[in-house]
Amino acid sequence: MWRATSWNPPYIHLQCGCGKEWGLEDMFFCFPCSKALCPYCVTEEIDSFYCRNCMENMPNTEAFAFKNKCARCFQCPACFSTLQILLNSTRQQKLYHFGCQSCYWDSMSLGLFGNSLNELLMSNQDYFMKDNPLQDQLKILIDTYKEACRNRRKIGVKYLQKETWTFEDLENSVQPKPLINPVQRIEHQSPGFDELLNEDINYNEITSMQQRLSNAGAQPRELNKASAQPIPLLTRRSKRCKYCKKYVVKPETNQSFSNPFKMENLLVYFFPRIYIREIKSNSLILLLINPTAAVAYIRLEGDKVPPSELHLDSYDPVMDLVTSEGSSLDESLIIEREKNTISIEVGKPSNDIWISAFWKFMRGQDVKEFEIKIHIKLA
């Protein structure tokens, strides 16, 4: 999972209720539970599939039928960039083939071309089938297991209906029935050291691990045998709280809207941004910025942190308007107060500082309150 926040100290992370540490950018907020949630505390649901190249939405059934891959877009087997369908036209005929704009890989050498687009796509599909040596063996195995499964059900019913069991019946039911011919082991002598040294290999033509795995069916050794692969689909996901099952994030299905979300309860909208302004020998100065539209309150508790309840004013940048509430009870702790930011000084017992923050903010008419642990790592 990609994380937005850095792990190079100095950093400030928040601890989720499950004990994992995350940056503010990665976390969500559930309103019914009044809880900050990390990406592991939300359940994801796939809303829709789309191709990252043609941007076409695909319903679930169609995505399932195409094995979560796009039917029209392909990626280069060598450099994984998107392939283009090129037209090689002469006077006699038109030839469509795949071509990579980045590494100049071409499908003509593999024999993948067609007189029309459909023919090209079909020939690529045929190539997949032809190229997979394990396909037939796998098909036999699958068929056999299906057959065995069906027979077992039948046998079970047959013997259950019998009133008296003889020893022969028991023997028959237990005896294994050979359904499949076991694969014959091919005697293969691994090449000797001298043989390997003298072998004429062009190492530029050998596939890398990534290239081989992207061609999972054939796993070709030489690059000139790898064929164009369909592009895997990407997903749009909605997220629910793990505890109350309510939506936390819901993406917009209509992509023409400017806002990509129908609903987004992210922690960045409701919890103050905290920066380190200055690191002194035995203390450090923190900067807190209130992102909400109303005055909010914070109570900090921790080792060498003076117990205090402070308020943060709100600021509307469009109207250039500050909503203020005078001074807090512990105003002396605040070094500087400017618009919606305050800077405070806390003690520095070690390079790892843990502070509990109780945050109270307004959302419309509701007052929400929650506790979260802040981890400050300095070195």
């Binding site: 990609w2 994380r3 937005a4 100095p10 950018e25 990665d26 969500f28 789309y50 990252r52 190249n53 043609c54 941007m55 990626q75 450099c79 994984f80 960039s81 998107t82 283009q84 990579c100 704009q101 980045s102 590494c103 990407l234 997220k239 994030v249 990509p260 979300f261 987004e264 992210l266 922690l267 960045v268 909208y269 920066y275 380190i276 302004r277 900067l287």
Partner: protein
């Protein structure tokens, strides 16, 4: 750490009434074809080729040092035709990148020393990693990270990208101050 303030020499920059800050050491060709919607920062060494085709740039767009903007071309009926380059709001392009995309959405972050080839389309809220090379006609969907040579899909961006990136570019503009 708290983001640092960036100071510039007032004599080296031109300021328009809409808040654009354009460095005199940048190379801007075809200025009648370049539309800045306000609050943009154009750093020294930036090249904008407005003489090839119109370039439209949205609000709070920041071009750092030595960025090259060149409209992309299309081949139509055997002739080369340059097409309009559209750049959205809150776009940050880091040092030394060469951008020939036909369209860049909102909240896009392009890393250092990237090459974005002709006719690429970068959708909203995406990120291109440092040193990436996008091959021609690549389409980068929203909320994704592309990187590598040639650039491929790497990962998804978090949902807070819209907020974080707007804050990043707005913050950079507000902290970009003239030397007293």
């Amino acid at each position: 750490m708290e983001p640092v303030k960036v100071f510039y020499n007032k004599k080296e920059y031109l300021e328009t009434h809409t808040g654009n800050k354009v460095c005199r050491k940048s190379l801007i060709r075809g200025s009648h074809n370049i539309h800045l919607n306000g609050k943009c920062i154009i750093s020294p060494g930036v090249v904008i080729r407005g003489d090839l085709a119109p370039v439209k740039i949205g609000k709070y767009t920041i071009f750092k040092e030595d960025v090259v903007l060149r409209p992309s071309y299309k081949r139509a009926k055997g002739k080369l035709k340059y097409i309009t380059m559209q750049i959205g709001e809150h776009v940050l392009i880091e040092e030394g990148s060469i951008v020939c995309a036909s369209k860049i959405g909102n909240n896009v972050h392009v890393g250092k020393n990237c090459i974005i080839s002709h006719r690429c389309v970068l959708r909203d809220n995406c990120k291109i990693e440092d040193g990436a090379i996008l091959s021609p006609d690549t389409e980068v969907p929203s909320f994704t990270i592309y990187g590598g040579k040639p650039a491929t899909y790497l990962a998804d961006m978090p949902d807070s990208t819209v907020f974080m990136h707007t804050e990043l570019t707005q913050g950079y503009y507000n902290r970009f101050l003239p030397l007293a």
